[in-house]
Every structure is written in structure tokens, then in C-alpha cells.
């Protein structure tokens, strides 16, 4: 657990970046700091590994005050990923990843063995190991940056806008990769982003900052979308927060109707389209979210979303109006 205990940061010149911040980042979870520029989110992140010293207050990792620890040793135990990755241009990908293990006193051979394993883990083929960073695309560099931060298996990771320098398609892939890795590794992660959608997608806990280093709201993504604390948060999470909050509700308890006669099935029982010749436009399973079902029902030419089982066989449909009733009932429950 990372604890901010009444932390203040005033920069020389008098501007207050962080104003009496008290906050707990749960162990094994991803906590995302988000807010407009100048809200103190990056300053807060960088105080955790003492890249910035707080003016007053304490920051503790698992109860230990970071201020009492040797800077370099503290940082070797905290993974760090930044925008553009910040890779060392003069070292190969493998040696970049081997950096922290080497700093911790491992032999070059041991460190490289660890590094090779991690490259594989972040989805980079062995052929990349001997390349230099300038030979990689932005997305590949960012993967190397993540592998490098993970190399010494630190319990805590800091990520400062790690995915904002790559194009949307690549970012999407990196997000998926991140969620998969974090599910396996369960690191305690503090991440900074200016992108509320990214925060909602990746965060277990989202911390919204407002100008002047104040907390606006702390909560799970669903809490923020459904119960924004004030106008500022509501504005910040966006106008379509209602639709987006559907991402967090399961489609499992959505009532389905039997398959209608005009749904065409193939030999294996999979939906092949409507008898009018039009496509179903996609299907959902019980593991999907209400948001997907809503999207399917809206974009379907006949206003019906088709559900399939684990083998892809159609097992029910949800017409438009059933969905509306369900959403109305859901609002009653909230």
C-alpha cells in the first residue's frame, strides 16, 4: 500500500502543486491519477520515488516512510515507465531491460537471462533483443519500457503517461497487454494520465485531481461514472458517462427471448444473419457488458441483439424494448 499523509508540494516561486493530499493506493491494484494539466497528478506520482521532494507531509510504502530511505536503492525497488519510454539509445533492447538487475549487482549473464524472459512476457519476439531502440516503433519501445520497469520484479510500479505517445490502435493493443499482465502480476501501480477513458479502462481506483492540487473524487470507475461528486467531476468524466457506465454491468442477468424464426442459423447453430439478408452485426455472451448489448441492439437493422453460448451457438435474443425495460429497472435499483 502506498500512503500519502497530508502531502504538500509548493514549488519555488510559490505555486502550490499539491495541497494537503491524503490518499491510500491499495496493494496489488492499479490506481490512476487523472485531471487537467497543472492539477498536481504528475508531481504526486514523482514524489513516491523521490524524484520530487514534498514540502511537507509523508509518503509511505507499506508503512515505511520513503524519505528515510536511500534514494537510489528506493528507486531500484520501484518500476518506472514514462512517455516515449526513455530507453537508453546506446544499449540494445536486451541490455536496456537488464539495467536494473545489473544495478542490483546481478552478473551480466543473469541479468540478460531475466531480460530475455521479460521481453517474451511483454510480447516481443527474441529477434528484437539485439536491436537498438531507434530500430523499434513507438509501441515496441513502450513494451520494452514496461519490460525494463518489471525486470527487478518490483512490487510497486509508477507509470507517467505510459501510453499517450502512441497512436490509438497501438494504444488499444498496449491497454489489452497491460490488463493481461497486471492480472498475472498484481503489482501495486500508480499511473498518471490526462485521458479519462484510459483511467476508467485501466484503473481499479481512479483519483480525479482538480487545479491547484486538490482531490476532486476518489472511487472505482463505476462509482465515478454513476455518482460524480460534483459538476467538475461530471464534466470531466464526460457527457456520455451514462452509456459508459454500462460497461461495468454484466449482461448475465439480462432476460432473453427464444430465437425468432427469421434468425438464420448455420449447420453448427451459429447465427448467420436475418432472413432479410442482413447481418446480425455481432453477438454477445453472458460475460459481456450491458454496453455491448446496447450497442448491438442500436446498430442492429432489426433492433435485436443476439446472444450466443461459449461455442458460438445462438441461445437467445434481446429486443430493443426489453433492453430499455431492463435499463429502467436498473436505474430503480441504483
Amino acid at each position: 500500500m502506498i500512503t500519502f499523509d497530508d502531502v504538500v508540494k509548493v514549488y519555488p516561486g510559490g505555486s502550490t502543486a499539491v495541497d494537503h493530499l491524503s490518499l491510500e493506493l491499495p496493494t496489488g491494484k492499479t490506481t490512476v491519477f487523472v485531471g487537467p494539466s497543472g492539477c498536481g497528478k504528475t508531481t504526486s506520482l514523482r514524489m513516491i520515488n523521490r524524484m520530487i521532494q514534498p514540502t511537507s507531509g509523508r509518503i509511505l510504502i507499506d508503512g515505511k516512510d520513503v524519505a528515510g530511505q536511500d534514494e537510489a536503492e528506493l528507486r531500484r525497488g520501484i518500476g518506472y515507465v514514462i512517455q516515449h519510454a526513455g530507453l537508453f539509445p546506446h544499449r540494445t533492447v536486451l541490455d536496456n531491460v537488464a539495467t536494473v538487475p545489473m544495478l542490483l549487482g546481478k552478473s551480466r549473464r543473469e541479468a540478460r537471462a531475466v531480460a530475455a524472459e521479460l521481453l517474451e512476457r511483454v510480447g516481443l519476439a527474441t529477434e528484437f533483443a539485439s536491436r537498438y531502440p531507434a530500430q523499434l516503433s513507438g509501441g515496441q519501445q513502450q513494451r520494452v519500457g514496461v519490460a525494463r520497469a518489471l525486470a527487478a520484479d518490483p512490487p510497486v510500479m509508477l507509470m507517467d503517461e505510459p501510453f499517450s505517445a502512441v497512436d490509438p490502435v497501438v494504444r488499444e493493443g498496449l491497454h489489452r497487454e497491460f490488463l493481461r499482465l497486471q492480472k498475472d502480476l498484481g503489482k501495486t501501480i500508480a499511473m498518471v494520465t490526462h485521458d479519462i477513458d484510459e483511467a476508467i479502462k485501466l484503473g481499479d481506483v481512479v483519483v480525479i485531481f482538480r487545479q491547484g492540487g486538490h482531490l476532486a473524487q476518489v472511487g472505482t470507475p463505476q462509482e465515478l461514472l454513476e455518482h460524480p461528486a460534483d459538476e467538475f467531476v461530471a464534466e470531466f468524466v464526460g457527457r456520455d458517462r451514462g452509456v459508459r457506465s454500462l460497461s461495468f454491468d454484466s449482461a448475465a442477468d439480462l432476460p432473453v427471448r427464444p430465437l425468432p424464426a427469421d434468425l438464420v442459423l448455420d449447420d453448427a447453430g451459429r447465427p448467420a444473419g436475418w432472413s432479410t439478408g442482413e447481418s446480425t452485426g455481432g453477438t454477445f455472451t453472458v460475460a459481456d457488458s450491458l454496453r455491448l448489448v446496447t450497442d448491438l441492439a442500436i446498430s442492429s437493422p432489426v433492433g435485436i441483439a443476439v446472444r450466443v453460448d461459449d461455442h458460438g451457438k445462438a441461445d437467445g435474443v434481446v429486443p430493443h424494448h426489453d433492453l430499455v425495460d431492463h435499463l429502467a429497472a436498473r436505474r430503480g435499483r441504483k
Binding site: M51, I78, A85, F88, P89, H90, R91, L158
Partner: protein, 216 residues
């Protein structure tokens, strides 16, 4: 020409050896002295501009004046090779201090930041990360300093110590062309070989620069 060469072979070789020694010792000394000075100009940004100015002034002192003035300052004999070594070391320091500072400033701040955040201490970060990444700029300066030194040594001949430059003065005194031609050919060849050597070393120790500036 061939009779000049065969009769004066020993003189020429001695002059060449002296020339190499007088040119390269200051490069090595100057580089060693310039490293910490250039580093200070980056570590304390306020020092950078004064450093650049002082280096500029030092480098603009005419070499002959320095050769003549140094014995007075150092108490050395006017004919001591030490005067040349000290003078050229001053020029090298003036040139390379700025080069080292510019090289270190050319390193992407994000690279330095990520090194710090990974737990590098200051000295190891300098040696392991900043200097290697600054090498292309530093080595470019080293090439200039080396070639400049090789040509400046000849000026020393005017005060009696000057490697291949002595072939020029002798040729002029005797109205004799051969030593002048040999002197010119050898100094140009020496400068070319020294320059090429540094280029080859650079290629060998900075293989990563070949991929800079293009993306995969």
C-alpha cells in the same frame, strides 16, 4: 628528392616522431582535463555561458604569442618542448570543455530522468549513460582538436621546437624545396590518419548511431 630522403632519413623520422608526440600528448591531457570542466558546465547550468566565453577567448590567443609567452609564465627554457605541450593542451581544453558540455547537453533529458528513476547514482549515471550517449558529439570535437593540434605543432618550429615544422624552417633558410614538400606531405598524412583512426574507433564504440534518425 630521393637523395634528400636517403641522406636525411633519420632527421625526418625524428621530426615525425616528435611531431606525433607533441600533437597527441596535449590531446590526451586536454581531454582528461576537459571532461570534468565540461561536466561542471552541465551540472551547474549557470556556469555554461561563462565556460563557453572563456573557452572562446582562450582559443583565440594566437599560437605563436602563446609559445613565446609561456616560457616567461612557466619559467621553462624557450626551447623546451614543454612550452608546446602546455600551449596545445590549453587549446585542447578550450575546445573540448565546450564539446563535452555540448555533448552532455545533447542527451535527451528523458533518458537522464529514466536513468535516475531506475536508481542510478550520479557518477555511475554519468559514466554508464550520459557520456556514452554524448560520445558522437564529443568524438566529433576530438577529431577537430586532434587535427588542429597536428597543424599547430609546426608553428612551434619558429621558436625551435616543432616536429615536422622544422623541415619547413630549414627548407626556407636554405631555399631548398624538398624538406618543405616532405614536411607538408607528412603532416597532411598524419592528420588524415589520426582523423580516420578516430572515425573508425567511433564506428566501433557507437554502433547504435547508425540507426539514429530513422524509425522502424
Amino acid at each position: 628528392m630521393s637523395s634528400y630522403l636517403s641522406n636525411n632519413w633519420d632527421t625526418i623520422l625524428t621530426a615525425l616522431r616528435q611531431h606525433i608526440w607533441l600533437a597527441l600528448v596535449p590531446v590526451v591531457l586536454g581531454f582528461v582535463i576537459a571532461l570534468p570542466i565540461g561536466y561542471l558546465g552541465v551540472r551547474f547550468p549557470r556556469l555554461y555561458h561563462p565556460l563557453v566565453n572563456v573557452c572562446g577567448v582562450l582559443y583565440s590567443i594566437p599560437s605563436l604569442a602563446l609559445f613565446v609567452f609561456l616560457p616567461v609564465l612557466l619559467g621553462t627554457k624557450i626551447l623546451s618542448p614543454l612550452n608546446i605541450v602546455v600551449a596545445l593542451t590549453i587549446y585542447t581544453v578550450a575546445l573540448l570543455s565546450r564539446t563535452v558540455a555540448d555533448g552532455l547537453r545533447s542527451v535527451d533529458p528523458l533518458v537522464v530522468e529514466s536513468a535516475t528513476a531506475m536508481g542510478y547514482r550520479r557518477l555511475r549515471r554519468l559514466v554508464d549513460v550520459q557520456l556514452p550517449v554524448a560520445l558522437p558529439v564529443i568524438l566529433a570535437g576530438l577529431r577537430v582538436a586532434t587535427v588542429a593540434n597536428i597543424s599547430l605543432v609546426s608553428v612551434g618550429a619558429l621558436i625551435g621546437v616543432g616536429g615536422l615544422g622544422q623541415l619547413f624552417t630549414r627548407g626556407f633558410q636554405l631555399f631548398y624545396l624538398e624538406p618543405i614538400i616532405v614536411g607538408i606531405v607528412l603532416s597532411v598524412a598524419l592528420a588524415g590518419i589520426a582523423d580516420l583512426t578516430i572515425v573508425l574507433i567511433q564506428r566501433w564504440i557507437t554502433p547504435w548511431t547508425r540507426f539514429q534518425g530513422r524509425t522502424a
